[in-house]
């Protein structure tokens, strides 16, 4: 089954929470297993939080577009935002800290995305949007 989901998400945490609930209902209805749904949830959470925290511009609108497709057990997620150009694939996370004192914010979200997604790509669209596409495959 090829199921599609599209949602505009405002760049606010409460809007993200609502989007996650709607996305979860969609994935469940499309027959996704719990572990795949959880991994999709983590990926979407971290990417949208990144945009909310860092994709700040006075000239852009406040919406992100979240799309998801379920096909042959795979979940394909696409996220577009109009923030400053940022290619997360070029971001190299710091080494994982070994001491609590070394732990700091920054980079952990993308680290999780790389771990949870089976495939990940980025493009800057002709319309000037950051577009991230990810694939999460069922176990």
């Amino acid at each position: 089954m090829d199921a599609l989901f599209t949602l505009e998400v405002a760049r606010r945490y409460d809007s993200l929470a609502d989007a996650q609930a709607r996305l979860g209902a969609f994935l469940s209805g499309a027959g996704c297993d719990a572990r795949t749904m959880f991994r999709v949830e983590v990926v979407v959470e971290e990417l949208v939080v990144n945009v909310i925290q860092h994709g700040v511009s006075a000239t852009i609108d406040n919406q992100l577009t979240l799309c998801a497709r379920v096909k042959n057990g795979q979940v394909q997620v696409a996220l577009e935002d109009g923030g400053p150009e940022f290619d997360p694939l070029q971001f190299v996370p710091r080494p994982l800290p070994r001491l609590l004192e070394e732990e700091s914010a920054g980079g952990n979200g993308l680290r999780l995305v790389r771990k949870m997604a089976d495939a990940f790509s980025y493009t800057r669209t002709e319309a000037g949007l950051n577009r991230m596409e990810l694939e999460i495959r069922s176990a």
Binding site: Y13, L16, L100, E103, L112, M116
Partner: protein, 113 residues
């Protein structure tokens, strides 16, 4: 997400978190959680059995509070982590920073040890 604290002894508290530790929840509750930790003079065993989701912001909150406790010579130990949340913790190697026990007795043994 909700949280509660129970004093087990003058030097030991249990914190129980319940619900989704997503960005919206952490944003709402972290000030209160931080204030609660600040008022504790002792170790804290954190029951995560009721947490169904946690992302990097929730992990950051735990690490920050564990650091506060450590600076006072006290420990934080996590326990009861659900399997899928543990997958997130493993991806972050969180066990290198905060001990993670399977259950409360093990958590208390780690604190006592």
């Amino acid at each position: 997400m909700e949280f509660s604290f129970t004093e087990l002894s003058p030097t030991l508290h249990r914190a129980a978190l319940k619900g989704r530790a997503d960005a919206a929840s952490v944003d709402r509750m972290e000030a209160g959680f931080t204030a609660s930790i600040a008022g504790i003079d002792g170790n804290v065993a954190v029951d995560l059995g009721g947490v169904t989701f946690m992302g990097s912001l929730g992990i950051r909150m735990l690490c920050r509070e564990a650091r506060v406790l450590a600076r006072r010579g006290n420990k934080m130990v996590l326990f009861g982590v659900q399997p899928m949340v543990m997958e997130v913790f493993d991806a972050m190697a969180l066990h290198e920073l905060i001990p993670i026990a399977s259950d409360e007795p093990e958590a208390l043994a780690i604190i006592a040890g």
